[in-house]
Symmetry: D2
Subunit: 342 residues, 4 copies
């Protein structure tokens, strides 16, 4: 059994990670930490775990994190980087579900996240945990930077077009829509039910932190800096991301075949038949990204539709996928269930 | 492996049953029937099953139902009773998720369902599939009448009070609220999104078909006819039933202990700590009924709060529980996952 | 023109009051106060008011409240009572939309609201602003206690049965359901979209502050203390309250006629035809209470269904109705629009 | 008083039109027709109109349509064109809320709507009822083609950029999102609550009927055919359209000033301050289009955000605006209320 700890599990990413871990046949959850909730039973806060997890939240300092084989950080940005160096030093592997290790350039990280990075030396070593690109590096990584939710959906949608050199790299548009759980479980007016229900809006048009993350990944694939416009929107639903991606492609390429071949061996990317419109509910609760590619009226503009569950493939599920890779397990272990529909 | 067939799986009960069955380690789904969708791949209609079920819908007459060990009927009321006698004759066991075998009195059944019963001789034999009451009978049953969704939530909530003789049997009130999936997946104006969203209403106050079903069960337990007022309501959510139950109790009984003891050995009934308010989302996608019992201001009125997922404990999950009982398996096989929250 | 001020208009009750007041032909909004938002344009916080209200929030102390004919308090409980005596002294009339003046007994108020009352001498004078009961007293009142949302829906539903002496006064049950806006516009985890959506739960079963308010009103009508069980629930929708009321009635009274006659002259209570099920969406945005009365299967139990918009008839709209009464205007002035459906 | 008739008012556009008309101070609704509901009181189907409209639905042939000054058609596509010629002949003016008169080229209309046009001679005469472009022509029109919902939001968002010649006319992208009421009030599985709730998807990517309508209008403004990619999506909410528009603009134009000046005199277009993100709820129930224009990171890509209520500015409200123009009334008559928020 792989012994794991979860730091900061009072948010949606945390409870979703626990939901997956308690059912994982090769994982034992050793400790779950929270400064604010130390002493509270985890299943008192999250009653869906009643009968599945017999633990209380403990103070991070009191938790046996160094006895773990792997520690997940499901903490706010800027927290993991304080503790990761010591854990790595102690031989513990780490998956950070926040953004601390996603941007390789410390200066750019500071620009977008508004603080100095606490361990820039680990930035270079950390592996960006998108298995569809970095599978081999993840297997041996000491620190995995689990990708953001929007970056997962957007990157997987553009990837075949960028790798193949077909896309116009200067003019990528990602119009992305997310359920409200993406904003987290913190008390704030903007995501109250009465503010978010029966409403639709864009936000962060001037610049969102996932923009540099997506651009970094796609530029590395392209071998040159790509031009990307990224507009996120808030959808009145709890879970799900739908990315609608636009670029132009010259010539007669068979895009359906391109996508199907690219992802044929990927356990968690499902290319739908030509003409399909993926729905976010078909991935609710599961680690699958479903993709469809369109070329309306046979023109130059390509439209890719990509859906994920932001809390699973966009967070906790991808983290478990990374765990499976890091410990040589079947990639789908603990992740092979159908989505909850309706 | 237990070979099963599913008749009429194009509705929400059907797809939910398939979601559970494809993951059940002792079940093989042999065939899925539908008159209207014969020839369509099941996962084309329900994309959450892509990769989990490699079958097309077939015409009922063409399906190898008699080769099955068990056939589920997830059909409209009045359909199963046409086919069940022949299947039973052929040695196939049956679980009917519709209402054909729920009411033991053929005359009363006709009164509420508006048609003659096609096989009244099986009504007496059929076992009402609420394991918390009929566990032993279910094990050997040839025909199981899977309970309705409201009856499951209401009956489990009242049961300890009726069995113990504490409740005033003449004055039970069940104020029940259901998500919209309870109304099924058929084209009708009343359950359109734009009709049901941002709206709350009661319906069927004059008389709902689940009233005689609940009354039959509770009266059998009580040994006399109970007086029941049942008011169902429609909630703007997909899944979940919340039953708020009222009755009066004289004296000083420890109701918390009563409930805890009654359900201590039940794998799918979870009595919450005193003072709790169960939430429907804590049972989303799972077979658990969570219950809390209150006695406001120490008066005579008892308030029981009981929640289930109408499609799981109220339908498909309870059916799988019954399958497990009928074939001598661990009761929780294929049903032991935490709820999806949020 | 009647000059009005609104104290504390940053919540849902406040913005709803402003929405109604800016369209009221006899009202001029002189000032809108907020400690936290002083200096912010009101329509920057509530863009639906762009073009309708050219004011900034001002500090309460800087606001010309004593120049107003009427001041509304849309503040948290315990705020209005600090300022009302001075305003009344200055000849300004007051409508408090919070709970400060709803309970006549200062001791009971303290018990439920957890603080000493700042001006108990005004408690006796304040008029409970339910026009269907207190129309004449409201006309000349200096201080009107605008009723709570649940109390409005519940009281109007029970009223004809209590007034007529038909109801069993010892056993009233009010199973009430509210949209989430009833919980206000303050940052808290429990009413986040991802907590409240796709979920249904009861709360406050042990005792809710609206219980003594309802009991006080109905007991005054009955001439004796009524026995009431009140269970509120949270519905995943923004607006609307649905109260399902239970009591027993002996004999053959024509309840439909009783309700129709009681409310025949009331501009804002609409008794639906026999057999109806009122929907909350039919009163969205309007000051109407729609009621239906049922007697299932002709038994002794009576079921009354009563719906309102919690922010209008349950708060701001009833306040405007009270204003119209206090200043001798047509009762429906500024309130005569159809509900927004769907 | 202007005498109006409404043909086919059993859908959402119809009930919304009636909601506005019953409050319009210069309009008298003479008749409301429906083949399927003849004999039913209108307020029995739409209880929000109780007390506001004392009419039954009548058969179209029995309705006094020729006594009307204006007839609205709120019928399915292909219905109005059967009756409009005779009405026009009789001197009755017409506003069609369906698509029969929106496309000027009969061949193109047939291609997208799949039927022959019944009165192609009126296509040329009909005025496209977008007041921001065709105000003068609307005043004297005999037949007004009320614009589609998506076309209204998209066209108003692109208009200043096209008129000014700043946009790259070959590469317009309109990523549009609509509430479910846009799909109408007809029984179909796809828009059931349990299908549309907690879900987000694109549809009609290969080609949607509003594409040629938008292209026709913008091309006429541009003086050349514009290249447009239009992708509609379904949002789990009842009302509202949010169009996110992309194009490229060379140079240093002050786009904020451009938009503000273009719409300064328009009563129903509200350009928000720079940096804003319009929310659909801020236009719920009202005839306003709110727009913000962005240029992320100062690049060439311009992002315009445009929101409307699909049933008001996208249908019934714009129709009333057109009525006001056609009869020389104040443009905002009957339309000057704030949106319902929250």
């Amino acid at each position: 059994m792989i012994k794991v700890g979860v730091v900061g599990a009072t948010g949606y990413t945390g409870v979703e990670l626990l939901r997956l871990l308690v059912r994982h046949p090769q994982v034992e959850v050793l400790c779950v930490t929270s400064r604010g909730e130390a002493g509270t039973r985890v299943d008192a806060m999250f009653p869906n775990l009643r009968g599945f997890l017999d633990l209380q939240f403990v103070e991070p300092d009191a938790a046996p994190l160094t006895e773990c084989d792997l520690v997940f950080f499901a903490t706010p940005n800027g927290t993991a980087m304080q503790s990761v160096p010591a854990l790595v030093e102690a031989g513990v592997r780490v998956i950070d579900l926040a953004a601390d290790f996603r941007i390789r350039d410390a200066g750019e990280w500071t620009q977008w996240y508004g603080m100095e990075h606490a361990c820039p030396e680990l930035l270079a070593e950390a592996v960006y945990g998108l298995p569809e690109i970095n599978r081999e590096a993840i297997r041996s990584a000491r620190v995995v930077a689990n990708p953001g939710c929007y970056p997962t959906a957007v990157t997987l949608g553009f990837l075949p077009l960028i790798e193949s050199g077909l896309a116009a790299r200067g003019a990528l548009i990602a119009d992305a829509k997310s359920g409200v759980s993406g904003a987290g479980r913190k008390a704030q007016v903007g995501t109250l039910f009465s503010e978010a229900d029966e409403n639709f809006k864009a936000y962060g048009v001037a610049g969102h932190r996932h923009l540099p993350e997506i651009r970094q990944t796609l530029s590395a694939v392209a071998g040159e800096t790509v031009g990307l416009t990224f507009v996120p929107h808030l959808v009145p639903m709890v879970r799900g991301i739908h990315a609608t991606l636009y670029t132009t492609v010259a010539g007669e390429a068979d895009l359906q075949a391109l996508f199907e071949q690219r992802y044929a061996a990927e356990p968690f990317v499902d290319v739908l038949p030509a003409g399909s419109h993926p729905e976010t509910r078909t991935v609710r609760g599961v680690n699958t990204c479903r993709i469809a590619v369109h070329r309306p009226q046979g023109g130059d503009t390509v439209v890719v539709l990509s859906v994920i569950d932001n809390l699973v493939k966009g967070a906790a599920g991808q983290a478990v996928h990374n765990l499976n890779l890091m410990f040589g397990l079947d990639e789908a272990l603990g992740l092979d269930t159908p989505a909850l529909l309706p």
